[in-house]
Chain length 380, copies 2
Amino acid sequence: MDSSKVKVVTCIAPVNIAVIKYWGKSDENLIIPINDSLSGTLSMDFMCAKTTIIASPELQENTFWLNGKEQSFNNKRLTNCLQEVKRLASKSLPHLNWKFSIKSENNFPTAAGLASSAAGYACLVSALAKLYEIEDNVSFIARMGSGSACRSMYGGWVLWCKGSSPDGRDSIAKQIAPASHWPEMRVLILVVNDERKKYSSTDAMKRSVETSELLKYRANQIVPKMTKACIEAIQKKDFEIFAEITMKESNSIHAICQDTYPPCVYLNDTSHTVANAVHAYNEFKSSNKVAYTYDAGPNAVLYLLDSSVDEFMSVINYLFPPQDTAEYYKGLPLSSNQLSQDLKMALNIPVQEPGCLKYIIHTKIGEGPKILTDPQQHLL
Amino acid sequence: MDSSKVKVVTCIAPVNIAVIKYWGKSDENLIIPINDSLSGTLSMDFMCAKTTIIASPELQENTFWLNGKEQSFNNKRLTNCLQEVKRLASKSLPHLNWKFSIKSENNFPTAAGLASSAAGYACLVSALAKLYEIEDNVSFIARMGSGSACRSMYGGWVLWCKGSSPDGRDSIAKQIAPASHWPEMRVLILVVNDERKKYSSTDAMKRSVETSELLKYRANQIVPKMTKACIEAIQKKDFEIFAEITMKESNSIHAICQDTYPPCVYLNDTSHTVANAVHAYNEFKSSNKVAYTYDAGPNAVLYLLDSSVDEFMSVINYLFPPQDTAEYYKGLPLSSNQLSQDLKMALNIPVQEPGCLKYIIHTKIGEGPKILTDPQQHLL
């Protein structure tokens, strides 16, 4: 290829973990949600998607490789995103109609149920926006790829407003506080071993909308006040309230899943044992020190302040004896303290079989998508 | 004791399994529920409580023995029941103020989470009503002992109306159809092994009322129409609709438990696997042949017609290999058929470890409490 006639963009984008959950669409094609949602963006130091796009007039056709496998372009979500990006681009761009090759990778296991599609679409849309020189908020385009991807378009704490426009143009994400606002916040991801059949969250959400009467009440009556209260708690850095809302919200969404017909049960016995441990620990400390939240899978994501990590990890290591410590701890350093006798008594939860947890990621709140300019970092 | 001065009454009373669930009280002391509920009464051939009361002027004090252990009378629920029964009794009864000795037993394990207190209080109140010659509907008195006990005061299909009187006098049970109405109905109780801490349903309900916003919506908006539809389905013997309502109701109540803060989780992985098997089987049969329902514990209670028992038991025996078949099957006879290859494929659920189920009771809908007149049947 003639390098003067090649455009190359590489981008990385983060994972986000909702504290007010997205569950249910009012428009399946455009991915417009029935309620607002709110998330923390996780540091890209340990978990991110990476996408490189090469555009050239010499390419004969568009190609898309995800984690080393070629993907079809016959994918409504992908084509919706491409169409919207091109619609926003200046018609005078010389490379607007060049074909391109997209290569995308996640640096964390896609199978672990860790919202890889959110990071992936945020990354793709960020790279396309850079390629086509678009400066606007393009979170609504990422949303068309994978709903919660719009929240991965910003760092820190991000609100996805459901909007009211039928075309979804105002169903966008905005940052409510940057990563630097609450620097003490840490996140522990406990990846749970689970051999059960996975249900797609798209199908499950659709079934919830169709069959759960409680869902309507949740979306209309409960989420609006929870969202408002959670934004305030984040702005004030009030962990006590933040934790309570986060846990109640997670419980509420899994209640809706249980109320769906047939039910979609994402939590298993291990997930519930983690939640019990969090409540027992908070009771022992006489205040909320840890908050759990669960997405469409059994993995527990724990929000906690850095001052609580060591002690709470002693709880987790006691209740869930690690099988293979070499690959078990990922991310920020974790020290392994002995659990105090008092705390052990207070927990009153039996030690679980080794192997209930696959591994643990220790991370923190981080920045939004980033364009990488060093040519060595390109994927192609 | 001088036998001319002794009154002896022996009574048996059944267990009931709700299809529209009771969850939440509007009055903790009087046990007035926040919604109507509806149940099937189970045959006393296999599960019942039995109570003998001996009253005599020669007894010095009241005593109460439950399953061979002496109980204190310092129990608000028990004293509420006694007080109400005496209030209704004729003041001219010569034995009204005699002391008495109560002995009560269940012929099924109390620890199995099989609503033993409902049968127990229904039995006690029936025996006291007989002793004091009361002919009225005394289900409201049984209710003061243990809410759902009022539904065990009748056979067949029983509605507990929450009522509207602050004193609870109209919070009573009534039969909507006798046991003979739907003679094909069978019940399978799958008793699940579970080593977790048990939560008292009284405490959990209270916490739900205090913390679950979804509960209010359920009680006020969902239960009234479900109850009406379920009564109709029973009256028409429409199993398709009956099963759907039963399963949705069970899911709804466990959704509320998950929405409670902290959550009270009664279902475990085995409970969910049973529910999955029921949905997979119904899908295979292209209609609802089996309905699950779960109370405040992991045991699955399945309603099904006699024509489905053999085939569905082949599903259960395949998914949950029995450990010790000698003590494993209780109640009505169960034949053990081979699971068809088609059905095995359709289930798509892995075979579970042996020991997930403790035992299985096969029973049917039966009659209400009964006074036993043969002196050999007395417990004392």
